[in-house]
């Protein structure tokens, strides 16, 4: 696709004629329309490619006989899925440069619970809208995915119902995200170990965020504070 160059404005001090100004406005509007089309095309390709990568990993996981290999492929797919969830709502709102943290949290919680098949975990959401730069959507989704996955895997025994409460609030210069459960607590389970823990640390560093996980008696409470 070629982008037409806007006509240069006269640089001397003579007033620009109305016709010349109109022509230049037309050029700029055409250039903007081309850029917008290009942006939508790229957005469309990113979303399709994320879908393709996710499908590839799922197909390969279905074929794997070794349970360790299957688990590794599924966990890679779930992280790609977190990035995909973050991307799904991008460019859908009024300002393509921003995303709403509460939408991201709602989507991630819904997907984590839905995928786990744990219908016996009662979810309570208390979400306040907060807009952050779109570039932070994917790292935040990855961070949330690890914390939520940890609750779902460790907080409640099989067949033991529980409650997961997630809230987002805005404070002076921060968005505060709290993920709390009423399960077995930190002492009875492990804190996020292995690669999941590494992802939490790295994403916090990238987002300039603080993340603290504490025993809440009962259960565990994780609090993320993200600069606004």
């Amino acid at each position: 696709m070629t982008t037409s160059q806007p006509r240069p404005l006269a640089t001397d001090s003579r007033p620009v004629s109305r016709d010349a100004a109109q022509l230049r406005t037309n050029d700029l509007e055409r250039a903007l329309a081309e850029k917008t089309t290009l942006l939508h095309e790229v957005d469309h390709r990113v979303k399709n490619n994320l879908q393709l990568i996710s499908s590839l990993l799922l197909l390969q996981a279905r074929r794997a006989d070794d349970p360790t290999v299957k688990r590794a492929l599924r966990s890679a797919q779930s992280r790609v899925n977190a990035v995909a969830i973050a991307h799904r709502r991008l460019f859908q709102g009024a300002d393509p440069g921003l995303f709403d943290v509460s939408d991201c949290v709602r989507d991630m919680v819904g997907d984590a619970i839905g995928t786990s098949g744990r219908g016996d975990i009662n979810v309570r959401l208390d979400l306040e809208r907060a807009d952050l730069p779109a570039s932070q959507a994917a790292p935040l989704a990855l961070l949330l995915g690890e914390l939520l996955g940890n609750v779902i895997r460790h907080a409640f025994g099989v067949g033991e119902p529980g409650q997961l409460s997630v809230s987002t609030t805005t404070e002076d210069h921060f968005v505060r995200i709290e993920i709390a459960d009423n399960g077995v607590g930190l002492s009875a389970t492990e804190s996020i170990a292995g690669f999941g823990g590494t992802i939490v640390k790295l994403m916090c560093r990238q987002l300039h965020a603080e993340c603290e996980t504490v025993d809440a008696n009962p259960g565990v409470r994780s609090v993320i504070r993200l600069p606004l």
Binding site: N48, L52, L59
Partner: protein, 155 residues
């Protein structure tokens, strides 16, 4: 418990890997994966031959951005129910070309399973079993038809 005939689903998608994985998801959701089409011509031929309960349609097919036009023909000429699955949700016409709704790409396994369960009940009973699940957006005309006129069309 009444046993219902599984809902038959035709997949219209030019990315073959994506269609293959979607076929597995359709089966896991308790539906029958009856066929895959890559172009608008194949989509019309298979819809006419197989009479699926639901046709999942991407906007971009192997013969170009023909998904919207082919959906109109699937709905008007073949009298089938169509659902868009596309990354271009904002480009869909206001009337959804007669389709019952859209799932935005990239979708997750959970979104597809939840949407298929929801649509199976809505198509069988003629009533929506509550608000649509996250990830599924209903076309305004279908929301009215399924008794959701006064409510938001997506969660």
């Amino acid at each position: 418990m009444t046993i219902h005939t599984p809902m038959s689903v035709l997949i219209v998608e030019d990315e073959v890997l994506l269609a293959t994985e979607l076929g597995f998801l359709v089966q896991e959701a308790g539906c029958r994966d009856v066929g895959h089409a890559m172009s608008s011509g194949e989509a019309l031929a298979l819809t006419g031959a197989l009479h699926p309960d639901l046709v999942l349609v991407d906007v971009h097919l192997s013969d170009g951005p023909t998904g919207i036009d082919v959906t109109r023909r699937i709905v008007n000429d073949c009298h089938a129910v169509a659902l868009f699955m596309t990354a271009n949700v904002l480009r869909l016409p206001a009337d959804f070309a007669g389709a019952c709704g859209v799932i935005g790409k990239p979708y997750s396994e959970h979104v597809v399973r939840a949407a298929l369960r929801y649509l199976e009940i809505a198509l069988r009973t003629g009533m929506a079993p509550g608000l649509p699940p996250v990830g599924l957006q209903l076309a305004p005309a279908w929301a009215v038809r399924w008794g959701l006129a006064e409510m938001p069309l997506s969660a």
